[in-house]
């Protein structure tokens, strides 16, 4: 969906943090802050909740352990109980290495998959980039315009808070399939004039 955004870029973290606080205090709709590197504490300052990705990792891990122990146990006791040098059919200590490896494997692969899914990332995904320098050296704060907000007012607000590059952009907020070497026209709903 295409929306209007006011974009302000900052050079310094110590200018950005108070600006984030002020934006929230002023009641503007903070869409996102794009940074070239992880800035610790920024998520808290923006009021984002803690990610629960690690909980998913734990669930995937337990699943891996269960599959490993259950699978090997079923194979050796039920499906094909092979006598290997008179050893027990359910030798738990001998199952530990594979159970551990599968725990790690499922947990890791599952978490990365969940990470990509949550962040909407995969090869071929394209998103709108408000400022190309936000993967280089600028921290880009994006404020979404609501029907009640005045973009000129937001722009001057950002200027007062130390932003160096300020502009207003119409942008698609989600993601779509596309290539970065091709320009794309945004689809806009326009009022059609019906010719009688």
């Amino acid at each position: 969906m295409i929306k209007k955004f006011v974009v302000g870029s900052f050079e310094e973290e110590k200018v950005l943090f108070p600006a984030v606080k002020n934006v929230r205090r002023a009641g503007y709709k903070l869409h996102e802050v794009y940074t070239p590197f992880p800035i610790h504490g920024l998520d808290k300052a923006m009021g984002l909740r803690e990610t629960s990705l690690h909980t998913m990792g734990f669930i995937y891990g337990i699943l891996g352990t269960t599959i490993a122990i259950g699978g090997m146990g079923w194979i050796f006791t039920t499906d094909w109980p092979l006598n290997i040098g008179g050893k027990p059919h359910f030798p738990l200590p001998a199952f530990i290495p594979i159970a551990f490896e599968l725990t790690v494997l499922l947990s890791g692969v599952g978490m990365v998959w969940t990470f990509c899914w949550l962040c909407k990332m995969m090869p071929g995904v394209k998103k709108h980039h408000f400022n190309l320098r936000s993967t280089d050296d600028l921290m880009t704060m994006v404020i979404e315009c609501t029907p009640s907000s005045n973009e000129v007012e937001i722009e001057s607000f950002l200027k007062d808070n130390g932003a160096i590059e300020i502009n207003t952009q119409d942008a698609e907020e989600g993601w779509w399939f596309g290539r970065y070497d091709k320009e794309q026209q945004l689809y806009k709903e326009e009022d059609l004039e019906i010719v009688e």
Partner: protein
């Protein structure tokens, strides 16, 4: 108000020179955007030639059978598994640097982790080749995978250390690859957003997965990195532990020892760091990255080398002692006659190993030598030679004189195709590394930016005023208003 960010000046800066965020991007991503130098082409061609020779050697082995190799009835593993364990050991440094040092909060990892992880992945790829082609009938290789099949079903033996190895190595490869790639995404996005050419826009647009640098994504990415590090830490220790089980769970004298897991893990880290050193000393010079991979980084890795080298030395001594102390005739024979006796057929290999792995790294107790890049490079090569000898000694000296003296006559030396296979993996390794150094940033630029203001030289200089402040004033100015 100031957020107290600078690190004490007592610590050496991790990034030298007058840098800002943009300069970091320029320095690290710049080499990706320029045409490769003549030196790169020469190196790449040599690597490709080695790879081609390796492919032909493997073709000989597949087409004419395992008799193309000189492995014999008693020396069944020979060079092949020696090289497997050597490569997999080298592949341990990357994850150690990226995972264990991340958990320990060692900031110097940021300068070296990307290249070390890439090296890990390539080394594990090379390692994987050896057991696969050692199977002989490589086209039946999928028999090692447990899946419901029409052959019974016949399942692999889950009690076998060799099967544990299959799981360990493949898990290690997958997790290392994911860890490396999720860390690479922000830097690929940097290249994409700076790209001028159509190819770069397309290629890095695809490979960056649409990374934007949003705070929420960073938060998830950091959480992911932390948990993956937590998982990879026991994983990296488990992989070489399980590789050592291939030997330790057998009843061959010289292999059947409980010291093997820690001894192998220490050796793996030892050889892995040596390989990282030899690659990075060249890379920093060629790509002009001396400001990011500083002498301080090299020194830190040399400290790990001297530590792990000494652990390995202790392991050699204790297995020798236990062989005598156990009063087991076969064990003591294997150690006394087949290894420690310098006049035995492979005595040279044992003493070569002791010299390269235990004696020579002790020179790194000297700070001056630790901080000498050229000396470190030669030392790193020596350590890798020594670690190769270690595996050779373990495999060959324990098997070339087995329980039956009538099979003692053979002196194992490799055939040209065994050597060719080994050289071929060097070709594979360096082909991959050259491509990596050309198309990917060899240093994690985003992570460097994150520590720039605490550990960068020009920022640390600003600590002078803070460090000269008296404590009451410091508390007033820095702490009270900081929040």
């Amino acid at each position: 108000m100031s957020l107290l960010k600078y690190e004490s000046q007592l610590r050496e800066p991790l990034i030298n020179g007058d840098k800002n965020y943009h300069q970091v991007t320029e320095d690290i991503i710049g080499p990706v955007e320029t045409k490769p130098t003549r030196l790169w082409w020469i190196g790449f061609s040599i690597a490709l030639m080695l790879l081609a020779f390796g492919v032909y050697s493997v073709y000989r082995e597949v087409a004419y059978g395992i008799t193309e190799w000189n492995i014999t009835r008693t020396v069944g593993w020979g060079w092949d598994i020696t090289n497997f364990v050597w490569w997999i050991g080298i592949g341990h440094a990357g994850t150690l640097i990226s995972a264990i040092l991340l958990l320990f909060g060692q900031k110097w990892r940021t300068g070296v982790n990307r290249a070390a992880e890439a090296m890990t992945i390539f080394a594990v790829m090379c390692a994987g080749m050896f057991p696969i082609f050692h199977m002989g009938r490589v086209w039946d290789g999928f028999f090692i995978l447990p899946y419901p099949n029409s052959r019974g079903p016949v399942w692999p033996n889950f009690n076998s250390a060799l099967l544990w190895d299959v799981f360990a190595v493949s898990t290690y490869f997958t997790i290392s690859l994911l860890f490396w790639y999720t860390g690479l995404l922000p830097d690929l996005a940097s290249i994409r957003d700076r790209a001028k050419t159509k190819f770069r826009k397309m290629f890095y647009g695809l490979t960056a997965f649409g990374w934007t640098g949003s705070t929420k994504h960073w938060q998830r990415q950091e959480s992911l990195a932390l948990v993956l590090a937590g998982l990879a830490t026991p994983l990296v220790l488990s992989v070489h532990t399980i590789v050592s089980f291939d030997f330790a769970t057998s009843v061959i004298p010289g292999w059947h020892t409980t010291i093997f897991p820690p001894y192998f893990v220490a050796g793996a880290i030892f050889s892995g760091f040596a390989m990282v050193q030899s690659l990075l000393i060249i890379t920093r010079k060629v790509l002009h990255l001396e400001d990011y991979i500083t002498i301080g980084h090299i020194e830190a890795m040399n400290k790990v080398i001297v530590l792990t080298g000494s652990i390995v030395g202790c392991a050699y001594l204790s297995e020798l002692f236990i062989a005598w102390y156990s009063q087991n005739t076969y064990e003591w024979w294997a150690f006394r006659e087949n290894r420690a006796n310098i006049f035995s057929p492979y005595g040279w290999a044992y003493y070569g190993m002791i010299f390269c792995n235990v004696v020579s790294p002790q020179l790194f107790w000297s700070r001056k030598l630790r901080r000498n890049a050229t000396f470190t490079f030669f030392m790193a090569v020596l350590v890798n030679v020594g670690m190769w000898f270690e595996r050779f000694v373990i495999f060959v000296t324990s098997t070339y004189r087995d329980f039956l003296p009538s099979s003692w006559t053979t002196y194992y030396s490799p055939s040209i195709w065994e050597i060719g296979f080994y050289l071929g993996t060097f070709g594979l390794f360096f082909t991959c590394y050259f491509l990596f150094a050309k198309f990917f940033p060899v240093i994690a630029a985003a992570e460097i930016k994150a520590i720039l203001k605490t550990s960068g030289e020009n920022y640390k200089e600003k600590m002078s005023t803070i460090e000269s402040m008296d404590s009451d004033k410091f508390y007033e100015e820095e702490m009270v208003h900081a929040h």
